[in-house]
């Protein structure tokens, strides 16, 4: 069985997270730019006299599908590497995955992506 790990982290922490994961042998991942807000306060911007609320800040979303067995280790590794201890450090969510297919070969599997 597999899990999908979705980690939303600070952009400046991406390198450190990648490095830690590499050391663990987990290189496969998909990365997306995102914006988000959690418990952080919003910021008010102004555009030529009009004010605008910019309450979301840039974040990076890392998606990794991994085997059940290593999910916990991966989660902890990401959390530790991405932590600064301040608001905005992010969240990690774990979702169930039913199947994975390798496009190159067409192999389908319920186990390893």
């Amino acid at each position: 069985m597999m899990k999908k790990i979705e980690a939303i982290i600070r952009p400046e922490m991406l390198d450190r997270v990648k490095k830690v994961l590499e050391q663990k042998g987990c290189v496969a991942m998909t990365i997306t730019d995102a914006k988000g807000r959690g418990e952080q306060k919003g910021i008010t911007l102004q555009f030529r006299g009009r004010s605008m609320e910019v309450d979301t800040l840039p974040k990076i979303k890392i998606e990794m599908v991994v085997m059940d067995e290593i999910a916990d280790a991966v989660i902890n590794a990401i959390a530790d590497a991405a932590r600064t201890g301040k608001f905005g450090d992010g969240k990690i969510f774990v979702l169930p995955v039913e199947e994975a297919i390798r496009v190159r070969t067409g192999e389908r599997s319920r186990d390893y992506p």
């Binding site: 030529r48 006299g49 009009r50 605008m52």
Partner: protein, 399 residues
């Protein structure tokens, strides 16, 4: 007799003013949403293309050939007939003078596209271009620079405060009344999609304005140098004026700063050959403040003239026209203004400005309405939603 230095300067100035037109396009395009970027820049290019042809065919003739009743030129220069490589009374070739004036006709129209941002139909716009430049710009240019009634009256406009800025700014207001607000205006965020693009546009405008005002001396001489210096001074003062008026808890928007600079550039335009640098400091700083206030007023009135051709060019041009009548000093351009007790000049300036406002606003209202009810000036709701880049140009700005 031809002077090669003057000719070099006017040719360069013309090139600089031509560059300002895509400069306006970038300035505006940075402030619209990502789905209307190609459209916004294209409007500037369309203005360049259409007016470039119209001007050599009829526009120059309407503006600059022999006067008819103080209102319009005759068709003596039709197709540039009789406009040649020689100099006539000038020290530069007639063709160079014609080209310099062409660049002004082009950019006036480009400024006006502010009012059409994110909702104009490209085919309607092209037709509007032709009508507007012929019926609004050409006559006003004639009145002021072509020996028309305002010239005879003695109204001063060194480089186009009235002809270019009042004319485009108040026409923009008229267009907005006809074309209406963008859908969702006031409800949805319609912020700038690319501020560096706008800043680049301003860089090109500031650069080009040296030709705009400096070239208007029609010679490379002390007057050109004065125009050059007051232009830079007023731009800087305008930025400071706007920044001071809008200073907000230590935050200062870059768009505010450069809008103020443009306000300063606009306001000094009519005065550049009549006032010195210290007056330029005042003219620019005041322009920064009142154009900022005009923008606030425009926002309060809920007009969707959101790239602010009216607030900056219209109001800034109006202030500049009056300021010329206030600060003009004989030491620079041979004319004196209110501060030297010359009330007459100030009154002439008021008459010139009001006449241009009334004429440009009224006629633009009619022309825009005319285009709107015939071929249509505005896209459909669906096209506006998808964005003009796709719907009018079949393109996406960024892949």
């Amino acid at each position: 007799m031809l002077d090669s230095g003057d000719t070099a300067w006017i040719l360069v100035s013309t090139a600089l003013v031509v560059l300002m037109t895509p400069g306006v396009g970038l300035f505006y395009a940075g402030m619209v949403r990502g789905k209307n970027v190609v459209s916004m820049i294209s409007l500037a290019f369309v203005a360049l293309v259409v007016v470039s042809v119209q001007w050599v065919l009829v526009g120059y003739s309407l503006a600059f050939s022999s006067d008819i009743a103080g209102f319009i030129g005759n068709l003596g220069f039709l197709g540039l007939n009789g406009v040649g490589m020689g100099c006539g009374d000038l020290t530069i070739p007639e063709l160079a003078f014609m080209a310099f004036q062409l660049a002004f006709a082009v950019i006036t129209l480009a400024i006006l596209t502010s009012a059409m941002a994110e909702r104009v139909k490209i085919s309607g716009f092209i037709v509007f271009c032709l009508l507007w430049t012929t019926l609004v710009y050409d006559p006003i240019a004639h009145w002021v620079w072509g020996g028309g009634w305002l010239a005879q009256l003695g109204a001063l406009d060194f480089a186009g405060g009235t002809v270019v800025h009042i004319c485009s700014g108040f026409s923009a207001l008229a267009v907005v009344l006809v074309i209406g607000k963008r859908r969702g205006f006031g409800e949805q965020q319609m912020g700038p999609h690319n501020i560096p693009m706008t800043l680049l546009g301003v860089a090109l405008l500031w650069f080009g304005w040296f030709g705009f005002n400096g070239g208007s001396a029609l010679a490379a001489n002390g007057l050109a140098a004065n125009a050059f210096v007051v232009t830079n001074t007023s731009a800087a003062a305008g930025a400071i004026g706007w920044m001071a008026a809008s200073w907000n808890h230590g935050q200062q928007s870059s768009l505010g700063m450069v809008s103020g600079a443009v306000a300063g550039l606009v306001a000094i335009t009519p005065a550049a050959g009549f006032v010195g640098p210290m007056s330029a400091l005042v003219i620019g700083a005041v322009a920064g403040v009142i154009c900022y206030k005009a923008m606030l007023f425009r926002i309060k009135k809920n007009f969707d003239e959101s790239l602010d051709a009216w607030a900056i060019h219209g109001v800034g041009g109006l202030w500049g026209a009056l300021a010329t009548g206030i600060f003009a000093t004989a030491a620079v351009g041979g004319y004196t203004g209110l501060i030297y007790g010359n009330v007459g000049q100030f009154i002439a300036q008021i008459i010139g400005a009001v006449a241009a406002i009334v004429y440009a606003f009224t006629l633009t209202l009619i022309l825009a309405k005319l285009v709107d009810v015939t071929i249509g000036l505005r896209v459909t709701e669906e096209e506006e939603y998808v964005g003009l880049d796709i719907s009018q140009h079949g393109e996406e700005a960024y892949a």
